[in-house]
């Protein structure tokens, strides 16, 4: 008998889970498929060559806009990947207990790592193959119907001299593609995307495994009760403040006013600092809000929600982090939008169209991020069913439990969303300035006008309320599980 | 004794020998009654007016006087049945007496030493009984008896364990 378990055993132990584990595997696969489709679409746009096209959308026609489209598509996979992280938490306590039980049954830390790798790799690999397949199939299927005969703007750039070009735009009638289905994407790119995503998912799952590997008894017998630290919140405040006064610092310190790499690097670093600080700091907010509300409220729903928040600030913060990140990016986007709309010609609809498209992308991102809240709330309801059942048995009405679960997700999210949106907005205004110049008039008689960039209050309000409403809706949808979880039979469940 | 006889007569009129037989049927595991003891008790009860002589049954044998419980007798029986038995009114087991005296006469170290040896002896006996009980050849009667003894020894041991902690605490108190 060899010392190590057979691969078949590893795969069997990885796939041998309960209902929650199957849900996790399916969700991981589905989300990975979506991410693969998104990334392959981005790659497709990036690989648009001079011979491809023409396309109906200017976003695809202008090579200069391709990086923006690619970045938007890649950014859109961020909430998708975060959702995948949230999916990896479905039934996590039960899975950790199962892994700890394997350890008690003699599995070594390396065995457990292999088991988890098998499970996650299988799920993400399945999703990846599915996603790549769907993408290639979709490209093939959509190529015909989405190639229509219509008008498109043909741009011809002609070099007219060593330093001068002439740009010719003309409306032409011909076969035009709605989507870049004609781009020949190298197989290597498809392979890299399809392999790297599941690989990343497996690596991420190993990072999250630390506690089970190190102390199986801790998982079986104790819960984690670290108090959240305030340091990340300080990161967030400092990052936002620096961005907010960025243009003032730049003008006083004599840094160039253009987007030179050093300035871009500083701005990106500050944005990262803000984002990371916010993601890590939300636990502190949850804990603070929970403790604050719990010691003052006399509403039972609020009391339960607040106490649960204060007791486990990390669980809810995990679901909220992506929502806040999207809210922050959303706030920044609205700032950029206000800036562009003021400084460009209102007659040219290109900018407005593009900005509207960006808002559509933002809405999709919010929905994706809020789906994480759905997954989280459903998981909470199912994993804490013993607790819920005992509360119900003690006479707490289900309506109160439902309200408290809703409040549990919204209580820390509401102030944090306002903060995040405001931070994004402040940062953009700090970097781009609150005023700009616009030139009018014919050549040689131009008038330079200084315009104030308005704060887009309405857009901000829609963004904040929309985010909260979407999240509330998703959380509410997850509450359908409450009835089953408060069944008195659940009092006996140990998992 | 007197209440047991009264109780058996309350079930129906009986002569002396019948009382003895009934007793043995109702309490099979107890020590059997002597016939003389039964007759003496019946005489005493009659003197106190708690039982009365009934008819003489001479069918198929020697004359037998049957007894019946008087109303006073039944009242006395019910008074006794409704009376709560005092739970362990006097605590005077040999083990307890010895340990208490050890603490008083010698010192708590001697008491602790005694307790430790007693504990070892108890545990030895418990091992013996456990082995007997675990043996598949042992009869049910033996397993029941072993269970009974093990439970009592276990109660003793729990007391010994607590007593050891108490004497240790006592010595800590006295020598801080």
């Amino acid at each position: 008998m060899s010392e190590r378990p057979r691969t078949a055993t590893i795969v069997w132990l990885g796939a041998r889970g309960g209902r929650a584990d199957k849900a996790r595997i399916l969700a991981t696969a589905a989300v990975t498929a979506v991410a693969v489709v998104g990334l392959l679409s981005a790659a497709c746009v990036a690989w648009i060559g001079p011979g491809d096209g023409p396309y109906t959308s200017n976003l695809l026609m202008e090579p200069g806009l391709h990086p923006g489209v690619v970045i938007a598509l890649v950014l859109l996979t961020v909430p998708v990947l975060a959702l995948s992280g949230q999916c990896a938490r479905i039934g996590a306590p039960a899975r950790d207990r199962r892994l700890a039980a394997y350890r008690l049954g003699g599995a070594t830390p390396r065995d457990v790592v292999r088991i988890v790798g098998a499970e996650t790799g299988l799920a993400a690999g399945m999703g990846s193959v599915l996603g790549a397949g769907l993408f290639l199939l979709g490209r093939w299927l959509l190529d015909g119907p989405t190639t229509v005969v219509g008008t498109y703007t043909k741009t011809t750039i002609r070099n007219t001299g060593p330093d001068s070009q002439s740009i010719l735009r003309e409306d032409v009638v011909g076969r035009v593609h709605l989507l870049p289905t004609d781009v020949s994407l190298p197989w290597a790119v498809v392979a890299v995307v399809a392999v790297s995503l599941p690989l990343g998912t497996v690596l991420f799952s190993w990072l999250a495994l630390h506690r089970v590997v190190v102390s199986p008894f801790g998982v079986v017998r104790r819960a984690d009760v670290r108090p959240p630290r305030a340091l990340p919140a300080a990161f967030f405040v400092i990052g936002t403040a620096s961005l907010a006064v960025f243009s003032r610092i730049r003008s006083s310190s004599g840094l160039p006013n253009e987007a030179v790499p050093s300035v871009v690097a500083v701005v990106v670093a500050l944005f990262l600092m803000c984002g990371v600080g916010m993601i890590l700091g939300i636990a502190a907010i949850s804990s603070f809000v929970g403790a604050f509300v719990a010691s003052r409220t006399s509403s039972p729903a609020l009391l339960i929600a607040a106490r649960r928040l204060a007791a486990a600030p990390y669980t809810s913060s995990r679901a909220n982090a992506v929502i806040l990140l999207v809210a922050m990016i959303g706030g920044a986007t609205q700032g950029v939008r206000a800036n562009i709309l003021v400084t460009t010609d209102p007659a040219d609809t290109f900018y407005l169209d593009t900005l509207n498209l960006v808002n559509v992308v933002l809405m999709i991102a919010i929905v994706l991020a809020a789906t994480g809240a759905l997954v989280h709330t459903a998981d909470t309801v199912v994993t804490s069913r013993q607790n819920l059942a005992s509360l119900a048995a003690a006479g707490v009405p289900r309506a109160v439990l439902r309200r408290s679960l809703l409040l549990e997700s919204l209580l820390p999210l509401a102030p944090a969303t306002v903060l995040a949106t405001a931070a994004g907005m402040l940062a953009v205004r700090g970097v781009l300035g609150t005023t700009d110049t616009v030139t009018h008039g014919p050549f040689r008689h131009q008038v330079i006008e200084v315009v104030h960039i308005p704060i887009p209050w309405i857009e901000m309000g829609i963004l904040i309320l929309g985010t909260l409403a979407t999240t509330a809706l998703m959380a509410w949808a997850a509450l359908t599980f409450v009835r089953r979880s408060t069944d008195p039979r659940e009092l006996r469940t140990t998992a | 004794m007197k209440h047991v006889v009264l109780g058996l007569l309350a079930l129906g009129d009986r002569h002396g020998y019948d009382v003895k037989r009934q007793y043995e049927a109702r309490f099979p595991a107890a020590k059997p009654l002597a016939a003389a003891q039964v007759y003496a008790t019946l005489e005493r009860l009659e003197r106190d007016g708690l039982v009365a002589q009934g008819g003489v049954d001479r069918a198929g044998g020697p004359d037998r006087t049957s007894y019946t419980a008087t109303p006073a007798g039944r009242a006395e029986l019910h008074r006794w049945l409704s009376e709560v038995e005092p739970p362990l009114p006097y605590v005077g087991a040999a083990l307890l007496t010895k340990v208490t005296l050890a603490v008083l006469v010698a010192d708590d170290a001697a008491a602790a030493g005694y307790l430790r040896r007693q504990r070892a002896a108890h545990l030895d006996r418990m091992r013996e009984l456990t082995r007997l009980k675990s043996d598949p050849a042992s009869s049910l009667a033996w397993v029941l008896a072993a269970d009974y003894a093990l439970n009592h020894l276990d109660a003793d041991l729990q007391w010994i364990d607590t007593a050891m902690i108490r004497t240790a605490d006592l010595s800590k108190e006295m020598r801080p």
Binding site: M1, E3, G105, P109, F217 | R116, R127, D154
Partner: protein, 242 residues
Amino acid sequence: MSRASQLPAPATAATISARGIVKSYGATPALREVSFRAEPGEIVAITGPSGSGKSTLLLCLAGILQPEAGEVWFAGRRIDDAGEEARSRMRRTVFGVLFQFGQLVAELTAAENVALPLLLSGARRREALAVARTGLDRVGVADLADVHPSQMSGGQAQRVAMARALVTRPDVLFADEPTGALDSLAGEQVLTELTRAARQGGTTVLLVTHEARVAAYADRELSLRDGVVDGPAHEVEYGPGR
């Protein structure tokens, strides 16, 4: 029978011993220099009131916890400084562990649970399950082979856990309050089976308990109090107590 007539045990025999074990949880000391030795096939009860360090000693001996000072030796080799991988591997080959509850994998059937240590050591599924069924039969729960732990009573689950702990025919079985969650009759059955199986297989059993009636199943007792071995040093037995 004179001691001299017995051959001394070879150095590689499955003797487990500890010397000067120190272990604390944060600032709270759990074990303060505890030494201990169990000969092959011995059944030793480790007793003491709660907080005396008896479970900690067991976990240190089983290689689940690492002591801060002192040494743990098994079969002539020092094991406390081995890596987590090596110690985990020992737990599924030469050691068996049995806890009060919660050790079975809820998602696996009884037979699969019992087969787990064999599978982790590289056995084929069919063979491992066959051995597991025999093991279940030996502790009298053959009919539970395809039942999940959640459908079992506490006593049944403990018997399955016992079958798993014994399935590799370990040299040492570590049992921490194995009947603590059972009523007295179910506990009695588990202990009877446990000691019988151990004596048949020559397995050393270290049995942590706070109950004298459980300790009575062992050959001898090691009593702990406040992290040290209880009683004057000369009363502490070493070597076979039978």
